[in-house]
């Protein structure tokens, strides 16, 4: 892909530029600029590409501004040309209608392409893991439909495997964001939204809610722990053995407004996720209930 080549070539400039811009130390402090999965990486490339494309126009404009303001300042003895009635030039106007059209054209082209690309799973030949996520007041509930376990405010995923997060909300709408793995998606009552993410390496990735939901919103942080497949399996087994199950009553308790620590459940009420989605669904077929 051309974009990738462009990106590889400009990488040294880019890193230098970011270093100057942020001054404040290492890149790992900037999760968005330190992506650890294919989704995050393609978004990162688009961020860099658009920043460079924009800089191509912004920097010259600012330099021209400084030059003009200095050159044509009103003071005695300024012998720069002064043409008070000159106010029209077809050629010049064509140029500056043209430049932004060109830049926006190029950027628009790549944007449209990437937009369609990112709807698909990052890798095709692996069976993905599905995790159902319910945002509550003010905590995140994760359910593993294949493993039949559930967690609160953290989840484990196998490294290198595409994960399909299915998001809904049983509280005001939130947004599910793990910056190092990729961009966010809204979790909304009555909707089941899909978000593909993948971690290439093992690690602890911080996530947070990104859409305001009230008093406890600031505390809606969670961890995504990427582990080798074997330790992921061991973790699932251990949860199944040692943790209590989440009951219907337990869910109602969990749903109440409040913040929570990390929690694990060896089982959860079957169909809980679908019930939550259907309960809040805004489709006309549910009006009869």
């Amino acid at each position: 892909m051309k974009l990738r080549k462009f990106f590889m070539r400009s990488k040294p400039f880019l890193v230098a530029g970011l270093f100057v811009f942020f001054l404040a130390g290492c890149r790992s402090q900037f999760p968005v600029l330190d992506p650890q999965g294919p989704v995050g990486k393609s978004e990162y490339q688009l961020i860099v590409f658009s920043a460079i494309l924009i800089a191509v126009i912004v920097v010259p404009v600012l330099l021209i501004l400084v030059y003009i303001v200095y050159r044509y300042r009103a003071h005695l003895g300024n012998n720069a040309p002064y043409t008070p009635e000159w106010a029209d030039s077809k050629l010049l106007e064509t140029v500056w209608w043209g430049i932004p059209i060109l830049i926006v054209g190029v950027l628009g082209w790549y944007t449209v392409n990437t937009t369609f690309l990112l709807v698909k799973p990052p890798v095709k030949d692996v069976k993905p893991l599905t995790i159902q996520v319910i945002s509550l007041d003010w905590k995140w509930l994760f359910q593993y439909p294949d493993q039949q376990i559930a967690t609160v405010n953290y989840c484990e995923i196998p490294e290198g495997m595409p994960v399909q997060f299915v998001l809904t909300s049983d509280a005001p709408m939130n947004s599910f964001w793990v910056p190092q793995l990729g961009g966010q998606e809204y979790s909304m009552p009555g909707m089941a939204m899909r978000l593909w993410l993948q971690a290439d390496k093992t690690g602890d990735y911080a996530g947070s809610g990104a859409n305001f939901t009230g008093r406890g919103f600031a505390h809606m942080r969670f961890q995504v722990l990427a582990r080798p497949q074997s330790s992921f399996n061991a973790w699932v087994d251990q949860i199944k053995k040692t943790s209590p199950p989440l009951t219907q009553a337990g869910y109602q308790q969990l749903k109440k407004p409040g913040v929570a620590d990390h929690m694990s459940y060896s089982a959860y009420p079957p169909g809980l996720f679908n019930d939550v989605v259907n309960k809040n669904r805004n489709h006309p077929s549910s009006w009869r209930r």
């Binding site: 002064y82 008070p84 859409n211």
Partner: protein, 655 residues
Amino acid sequence: MGNGNLTASHFFVTGDPLIYSADAAIILSVLSILFFLTRCHKWGWLWREWITSVDHKKIGIMYMIAAMLMLFRGGVDALLMRTQLALPNLQFLRAQHYDEIFTTHGTIMILFMAMPLMFALFNIVVPLQIGARDVAYPFLNAVSFWLFFFGAMLFNLSFVIGGSPDAGWLAYPPLSETAFSPGPGENFYIWGIQISGIGSLATGINFVATILKMRAPGMKLMRMPLFAWSVLSSSIVIIFAFPVLTITLALLFIDRFAGAHFFGMTGGANPMMYVNLIWMWGHPEVYIVVLPAFGVFSEVVSTFAKKRIFGYKSMVFSMLIISVLSFFTWVHHFFTMGAGADVNAFFAVTTMAIAIPTGVKVFNWLFTLYRGRITMASPMLWTISFIPAFVVGGATGVMLAVAPADYQYHNSYFLIAHFHQVLIGGVVFGYFAGLYYWWPKMFGFQLDERLGKWAFWLWNIGFYVCFMPQYALGFMGMTRRVYTYGWDLGWAPLNFVSTVGAFLMGAGFVFQVWQILYSIRHGRRDLTGDPWNGRTLEWSMPSPAPYYNFAQIPQVKDRDAWWMEKQQMPEEGRGNTAVKYEPIHMPKNSGIPFVMAVFWFIAGFGFTFHWIALGIAGLAGVGMSLLARSFQYKMEYEIPVEEIQRVEASMGRIG
């Protein structure tokens, strides 16, 4: 349904020392104003000269004063927030208080600061600039102002009575529904905005009519000053956008008041519908406020470079394109709501497309400066500083428009930095440029340049110190609307820097207040009416303009009408030609707009607390006011020739 079980202890906001001290400050300042008015026997003056006035210049000044007070309130909100975020784990504000403050900060700054400041400029400048004696509907103009004023008062009242709204400046449901926001806060929000929104819509209609029908003879549309063009394009957007807001908030209120299911979580309700509707107004809204700023820049650049504006037709054309395109970008506020790749791709491209006409305008301003003679007076300083601020802010806007990348920026501090950069760098700097530029025309004296420079540099340095770190904080994963954060996230240093920047801007505002107070005494009086060597008609008349504006309606022969006239006229003969005056018809003052707005306030207050009887009584009062108006038959009076001669002579315009 609702909060019928409200008790007296819920009525007044209690329990927070910050709020008690604000209460004390409000009560003290109200008492001192009342004392001053009584002591100096100013009640009659206030009623006759201001409250009942339908003069566009006075209405403009009242808009400006109200907007400045709201800028103060919104600014204090901002400083409180930045104080809370300066360091991790601070206990300065509790979560609830912080949520209320960011909500009121956003609402006030857009709807009760930017909008009235914009209407101030509309009112003060447009009739003078197009050679008219008033706006098309002077009575309606007064109605608009008082509706805005009492809407803003109702909204601000929530601070001490009942509790402020705390669901964000756009009040997304389900959070803003009764289930999650049971108190009266969201009702204050809805009614405050609804009441002032009616006024805004009326102002939009008023200025479209004024500009299309009231121009001086000879002023064809393509001879109109660019500020008037910007007002026209902005007003057109108002007319199409504000009804959407009115309906959206009305539906939200029906949800809250009558338990309907438009936007909640159950019964087929759909919060996504609200998010779409509110941004169908919300996105055009930002163009509503920025277009007039573009107009100001065009006037100022041309005047202070002593050169005709470059590419006039492109400037007009690009503003009209922006007005139209502004209605086709709203989805970019929620790319992450899962609309699908095709929808997101469409709105990404339309959003980027807005950068094209905007970019053209920047180039045209630059080439107006090119081969000009640039004087750096206050209005020009703000205009020049606008260009880098807005160019960088616009550039990050284009980055945000890249839909897949937006998944990483959305609701982060990158977004916060972007929109503050365009709204402060574009709108606020633009309106400041306009205020400095037209101040002598409003009040007849100039503002002190030395204090103005202090204010300018504090604002500008503070602006970059405050918002540049916020772009980086976005990349660090900091999301908006968090009231606290931990040391482990590494956000502390940049947040601290950002807070310092906010206080520098606050200091800049203090200097502006000082500058105004100082200049009232010591500012240079403007005796010529044309202190900047201006180009458009408002500079052809004395400062401040007489209440009937033009003793004789000017004949316009070209763009930059006053500049052309000055070129053809010998210096000493200016304004001294013997003319034959004719009697002038002017609209009479009226107390009805004020009284009607008070009734709206009563209605809004009643419905906010579910006191239905009071609400209906208020609405009945509104109906009576309208009825009373329809029975008024003599709404105009005539100024006799002798009086015109006397006024003109007193201003040195007749030799």
